[in-house]
């Protein structure tokens, strides 16, 4: 039944929306439109844009690959310390990202817990590379994906998985064709949250991966650098970042959110 939407809901919703929209208008208001063209042609900006897309998508892939199983374990398996593990997984959200980056250095840096033996054994140094950017993004984005998807697993009616099994679907077929589609909305949301968070990541990236144009300088880092000197450029770069994510998010239209 299409009942009119309650006024209070509309009112609060509009307040919420304005709270986001007004600052964005404020930002758009300051954009030096005439310089946008030359900025977009600047190879440094193009590099940063490319790196941002690659690293944020890479991080999304990484967190999907390890995050879905982790969410599955948190929701379905029972083992001692599960509540603690869930809380620990949440921590990268809580730490200031710069500290998160430092923690990554402590673990995977050249003289880190894992990084030092790795360096000795294979000569591989993780920081200051694209890998490091992806790792930093993944570290920060992981909790968003895991918690969202865990909620999806929890509200799933697991009887459907039993039905699928009686129809001859093996473990992986069930996961692929029943479980994941059924948690579609959570999955999509988790991936979008993770991707968006990775795209905007600054603190952990600059600390763990450094800020090397063309190698590790993503858009947020380029914005940071521009802020030092050329405020207008910084605003314009932010706008580019905003427009790109807007485009991607609008393209993921309603049905991608997997309306049931």
């Amino acid at each position: 039944m299409n009942r009119p939407v309650p006024r209070l809901i509309v009112l609060l919703g509009v307040v919420g929306a304005l709270f986001v929209i007004l600052p964005i208008i404020g930002l758009v208001d300051r954009v030096p439109w005439n310089r946008l063209g030359s900025l977009l042609a600047d190879p440094v900006v193009l590099d940063a844009l490319g790196l941002s897309l690659i690293s944020s998508l890479g991080a999304t892939a990484v967190v999907l690959v390890v995050g879905i199983p982790l969410a599955w374990l948190l929701a379905r398996a029972s083992f001692p310390g599960r509540g603690l593990l869930r809380a620990v997984v949440t921590l990268p959200m809580v730490m200031p990202p710069v500290v998160g980056g430092a923690a990554l250095l402590f673990a995977f840096g050249r003289s880190g817990l894992v990084g030092a033996p790795l360096d000795t054994a294979t000569g591989i140094v993780l920081p200051y590379s694209l890998w490091a950017v992806v790792m930093a993004n993944s570290f920060i984005a992981l909790p968003f994906l895991v918690l969202t998807i865990e909620a999806g697993f929890r509200s799933l009616d697991s009887r459907y998985e039993g039905v699928a099994a009686t129809l001859g679907a093996g473990r992986w077929t069930v996961i692929r064709r029943v479980t994941l589609p059924l948690i579609g909305p959570s999955l999509a949301t988790g991936a979008v949250l993770a991707w968006a968070r990775a795209l905007g990541e600054f603190g952990a990236t600059v600390t763990f991966a450094g800020n090397l144009g063309g190698t590790t300088q993503t858009m947020p880092l380029a914005v940071f650098v521009a802020l030092e000197s050329d405020r207008d450029a910084a605003v314009a770069l932010s706008l580019i970042l905003v427009v790109i994510s807007l485009a991607v998010l609008v393209l993921l239209r309603d049905r991608w959110w997997g309306a049931r």
Partner: protein, 225 residues
């Protein structure tokens, strides 16, 4: 020659972004050595150096952090001062708070910004205020000078202390009021080669003393010691 495929990696304080970006190509032109920069807050760079970042040169905006890095045996030579800077008062265009001098920092009904005392621009600002005998009433203590400048430019603060180099970079978006030299402080930018640095490191450090580099530094509001 063999230097052609060599690259110097310079970890530089964020406030050196513009000037080093301009000096870089001049250096390469002159020496044939490629140079790359990674700009970040001086303390972020410290973390990377202490972790053993594979970089050649460290250019710091804070002698204290440089000392820390030296103390950790992460440098291969003694640090040298390659530029200095001074403090200045920055006010937004139109001067909404009608700020005329350093006395304004004591006014409660103005919006006054400082840097946090733990960061260089904050401790220097406090030093200037002490020298002037002014007891400040800050509304915010920004974590770095860039954040402070953002607020002044946006008209959110009536006055704050920044470096003269910042004033040069900001152009028309802020107005600078000089601080008399008897109460002002001088800020030292230090540079040092890191352990395991390639031979290009020393070339870059010495290039900073050359006339071409000096004139660029001066054009961005830095002074040369």
């Amino acid at each position: 020659d063999s230097r052609a495929d060599e690259t110097v990696l310079v970890l530089a304080a964020a406030s050196l972004t513009d000037v080093f970006t301009e000096i870089g190509p001049l250096f390469t032109e002159e020496t044939g050595i490629a140079v790359e920069f990674s700009f970040a807050g001086t303390s972020t760079l410290r973390e990377q150096i202490l972790d053993g970042a594979p970089a050649d040169v460290f250019a710091a905006a804070s002698p204290e952090i440089m000392d820390e890095v030296v103390g950790a045996d992460a440098t291969s030579g003694d640090p040298t001062v390659f530029a200095t800077n001074e403090m200045a008062i920055a006010i937004p265009p139109g001067n909404p708070g009608d700020v005329q001098g350093i006395e304004a920092f004591a006014e409660d009904d103005l919006f006054i910004g400082l840097c946090a005392p733990t960061v260089p621009c904050g401790s220097f600002g406090l030093e200037v205020l002490q020298n002037a005998g002014v007891n400040p009433a800050p509304d915010t203590e920004e974590p770095d000078v860039r954040a402070l400048l953002t607020k002044i430019e946006a008209g959110e603060l009536d006055a704050g202390f920044v470096y003269t180099s910042d004033l040069a970079a900001a152009g028309d978006s802020v107005i600078g009021i000089p601080i008399p030299s008897d109460i002002n402080v001088v800020v030292h930018y230090e540079v040092a080669a890191l352990v395991d640095a390639g031979s290009g490191a020393d070339s870059f450090i010495s290039f900073l003393d050359r006339e071409v580099a000096v004139s660029v530094l001066e054009s961005y509001g830095f002074s040369i010691p």
